[in-house]
Amino acid sequence: MNVTCNDRDRIFQDGTPADWAALEAHAASCVSCAEELRGWQSLSLAASELRDYSDSRALWPRIRQSLAEQAAVAKQQEKHWSWRSLLLNLSLSWQTATAAALVLLLMLSAGWLLRPPTPAPLQSTGLLKSKALADVENAESAYVQAIDKLAAEARPQLETPGTALMANYREKLLVLDSAIDDLRAQTGQNPSNAHLRYELLAMYQEKQRTLEEILEEKR
């Protein structure tokens, strides 16, 4: 390979080993290039004067101490920020999904808290609690027994009705008993329904009045 003085800077900047060998060969017969080449290479050698790799072992204990302290602080912070770092370490898609789930949860919570007050169902006000229901059933049982005693007293007149009025009373009592049986069947299925209880009570009261009227007629 032939090189000239004009190639010198290019070789200094980015020459291949072959270029350098060719330049050295050229420098053997070119005073100017020989001087440049010597100066150039001398600069590299002079740079070695800036190398001082003297013992630096004393520095390591200081560095080690500061590294250990920093690691301890980082560990402490890690405890406090574990949830945060967990979120940050999630992939973008998981972060997006988590954020969307949180937003949805917030919206549902807000919707629940801000919902309009719903009217209580009618039936719920009429529902009786278990102890109250027992009291009602006891009173009803005693009431029924008392009415049965009246019915037993009126039975002779009703079995052989001597008048049309007595025959009407008998018909009325049959209708009332039929209605009472229906209502008792319904309250048996739904014992806490106060409305049925009131209707049943009204039927018993009507039966009581009818029996009283029959007994009045007897006297």
Binding site: D9, F12, Q13, D14, G15, T16, P17, D19, W20, R38, G39, W40, Q41, S42, L43, S44, L45, A46, A47, S48, E49, L50, R51, D52, Y53, S54, S56, L59, W60, R62, I63, R64, S66, L67, A68, Q70, A71, A74
Partner: protein, 228 residues
Amino acid sequence: MGMMGLALAWETRIPPVAQRERRVEPFREQVAAPDPAADIMRAEDLALATACQSGDLRAYERLYALHGARMKNLARNILGSSTDAEDAVQETFLKVQRGIGSFRGQSSFATWTFRILVNTCYDARRSRLRKKEVAAVDEREDAAPQPEPRASSAHPSLRLALERALAKLTRHQRDVFLLYEVEGFRHAEISEMLEISEAASKNTLFQAKKNLRQMLEPPRHSDAAGAR
């Protein structure tokens, strides 16, 4: 250029032994065949990075054993003070520990560490300038500090002249010269450290050496004759 006081007769100042060992720089860049030693070094570098990521302090000790002296030397050449250099190396290790999680292996671990070191040195210089702790520091960004006396060398006057000439270079020229000529990094490594292209690294080194030669070389006979 006003640097005549630094002029040196190179051939008389560089010892014969050194001249025999002279290095022709392009050889460092040519890697024709796969190098088993380089593969081993790369594997060790990766293992070291992994160990540091696990928080093992012994790995940091190994990193220091491998590169600590060179790191301190580079920091001293940038900062001009052994004390500041030690602080910069310590700060670099702390930054490596803090940032090791972000190391993805795009460059070698050593290259990554030296990049942090160079940035730390310039941060320290800027901070020092702001605090005006050093009165005689040139206020320019590229200016280098006055070097402090160091351990005796074979050619103290040569070293002093070179340090003063380096202080007149731009920051990039000084960095590339120190990394290539003093610390022995390849242009590929320097390009990763300084985040420039390899071509830019070569060109910057060329300009740096050209400027240094102009500053350090004695006036040529032809120049002197021209002056007469």
